[in-house]
């Protein structure tokens, strides 16, 4: 952490301690603790049964599959976006850079709605696609599109940031020494991106596993087909299926904590290297 030098050795004043502790307890610690306590009260057996129900397993499989697809496509897009936005100069580059972050400002519900307007029964492309027997809404492709939309910023942003920070000198040196474009990319640019890509992968996976609003609208949360872990938790709460709701919440919560810790570790390592 960069700020260690700035911090003083004095203990913090009590008023500040109590203020911050109250704030964090109400908004952060109490809810986190509640989930842990309630899961414990529910009992390991009930949680395990909830997690291993056929519907839960299907939902988990869908969620992990979506996360994997989002990771692969975003790695490819992230590399391309990095090379284009951090290395090329062209008109509209700043706009393109800004567009990448737009999904962060949109409510997932609006994302789902927008894609319904495009791919729905009366949408722009829906009727045309259905001639070929392709269905997007209420089927797995819809889930993929929703997940891709909400995960677009994470890998690309990391790669663009790192490439702009590092600068082009190493790549120019390689070219001057006679490396081909492919060799420069493979031996210089790609290794420089590696840390950013790992961070991006973790953030993308966490975001994909956690997506709810957009996949709820696009997939329709159909039993036996388009449930994801989050939409199945939502349904399980309605059906008072506490084992499944708490069990899957715990699984998703633990996955996201693990991915976050991984990101922090990667960031700390990148920071040391610099």
């Amino acid at each position: 952490m960069p700020d260690l030098a700035a911090s003083s050795k004095r203990p913090p004043p009590w008023a500040l301690r109590i203020l911050v502790l109250t704030y964090l307890t109400i908004f952060l610690f109490a809810p986190l603790l509640a989930l842990g306590v309630e899961s414990f009260r529910e009992g390991a057996l009930s949680l395990w049964q909830g997690i291993t129900e056929p519907e839960s397993l299907l939902a988990l499989r869908n969620s992990f599959l979506l996360a994997a697809i989002a990771v692969v496509l975003n790695v490819l897009f992230g590399i391309a976006a990095g090379l284009v936005i951090a290395r090329q100069r062209f008109w509209g580059r700043a706009l393109l850079d800004g567009l990448i972050e737009v999904p962060l400002a949109l409510s997932p519900v609006m994302v789902g709605l927008a894609f319904i307007l495009i791919f729905g029964r009366t949408g722009w492309l829906g009727p045309w696609l259905s001639q070929f027997g392709v269905r997007v809404i209420f089927s797995f492709p819809g889930l993929i599109i929703a997940t891709l939309f909400v995960t677009v910023p994470f890998t690309a942003r990391e790669v663009i940031h790192v490439l702009s920070e590092i600068g082009e000198e190493e790549e120019m040196a390689a070219t001057t020494l006679g490396a081909s474009r492919w060799q420069t990319f493979w031996h210089v640019t790609l290794p420089n991106m590696r840390g950013a890509l790992s961070c991006g992968i973790s953030l993308t996976a966490a975001r994909a596993l956690g997506e709810f609003g957009a996949v709820l609208i696009m997939g329709g949360a159909i039993t036996g087909s388009t449930h994801t872990a989050t939409t199945w938790i939502f349904t399980a709460v309605d059906e008072r299926n506490n084992g499944a709701a708490l069990g899957l919440s715990l699984v998703l919560g633990l996955c996201s904590v693990a991915l976050l810790l991984l990101v922090e570790k990667l960031r700390a390592r990148a920071h040391e290297r610099r």
């Binding site: 700020d3 911090s7 090329q88 062209f90 990448i100 519900v109 709605l113 709810f212 810790l261």
Partner: protein
């Protein structure tokens, strides 16, 4: 010899085209669909759709809860950043990691946590209800949910600015006899002000978009606890994607403007700082 990726090479043009096409299909097309559907029947219809009583109350609820949590985060988030950067205490690193948790935890899981904590079946919820304070399925729990999901924004925005600040100015002001209030207003606030405001705006935009945690905790009673994103979800489910698109368009426009303004704020802060 040319550097690795010059704008003139065929490969880089191809790459640029691919990145632009991906962004157009995935991000721009849905925005255009929202805009066209929202305005398809003209401005009077758009206006009628967003001023329809249920929609109006939903938008009003979303705006005031988002504003309230932005203010809370601006004050207490800054206090938290202050505690983390200015003092050393045991558990400081752990605290810094915990503050990032809401970025990774699925918002639906946040909703489950709050239901478990404040629901009528929980000891805390029952206690509050016994004292005539209704938290679950009323507006307080909406603010609590927004507080959890937006907790990192203000802290993370202010923290680096505080860490980079030159303490010499403060010490000079203090040794020249300035009171703590004067030192804060004249020395500290000019440096951290843009970051505090930027964090508040980021919180506001994120809070306006929140769906997953609110849909399970607020009860979604029209005119009382129905927020705008949940209203849009309801309209989509009941087949009125036209009216939903109008409300969504209004909210998307506002949140993109707020996000843009928050980015400008941060950039302005950085430039003044440098």
């Amino acid at each position: 010899m040319r550097p690795a990726l010059t704008p003139t090479s065929r490969w880089s043009l191809l790459l640029r085209g691919a990145v632009i096409a991906w962004m157009l299909l995935l991000v721009v097309l849905p925005l255009v669909a929202l805009a066209i559907h929202g305005l398809r029947s003209g401005v009077p219809f758009f206006w009628a759709a967003i001023t329809e009583p249920q929609a109006k109350d939903a938008v009003a609820l979303t705006l005031w809860t988002a504003l309230l949590i932005s203010l809370i985060n601006a004050v207490l988030g800054t206090a938290t950043a202050w505690l983390i950067t200015r003092y050393r205490f045991r558990g400081r690193r752990l605290l810094a990691t915990l503050i990032d948790l809401p970025l990774a935890i699925p918002t639906l899981v946040t909703g489950i946590m709050l239901v478990v904590l404040f629901g009528p079946m929980s000891p805390l919820g029952a206690w509050f209800e016994g004292h005539g304070i209704y938290v679950a399925f009323h507006s307080p729990i909406i603010v609590l949910a927004l507080g959890f999901v937006t907790l990192p924004f203000s802290v993370r925005m202010v923290q680096p600015v505080l860490a980079d600040m030159d303490r010499a100015e403060e010490e000079a002001a203090a040794s020249l006899g300035a009171s703590r209030l004067v030192t804060f207003l004249r020395i500290i606030w000019p440096s951290i002000g843009p970051a505090v405001l930027g964090g508040a705006l980021q919180t506001f935009a994120r809070a306006m978009a929140e769906f997953g945690s609110i849909v399970v905790v607020s009860g979604n009673v029209p005119h009382e606890t129905l927020t705008a994103p949940v209203y849009i979800y309801g309209q989509v489910e009941s087949g009125d994607s036209h009216g939903a698109a109008a409300v969504a368009l209004a909210l998307v426009t506002l949140s993109l403007l707020v996000t843009l303004f928050s980015k400008l704020m941060v950039r302005w802060g950085v430039r003044r700082h440098a």
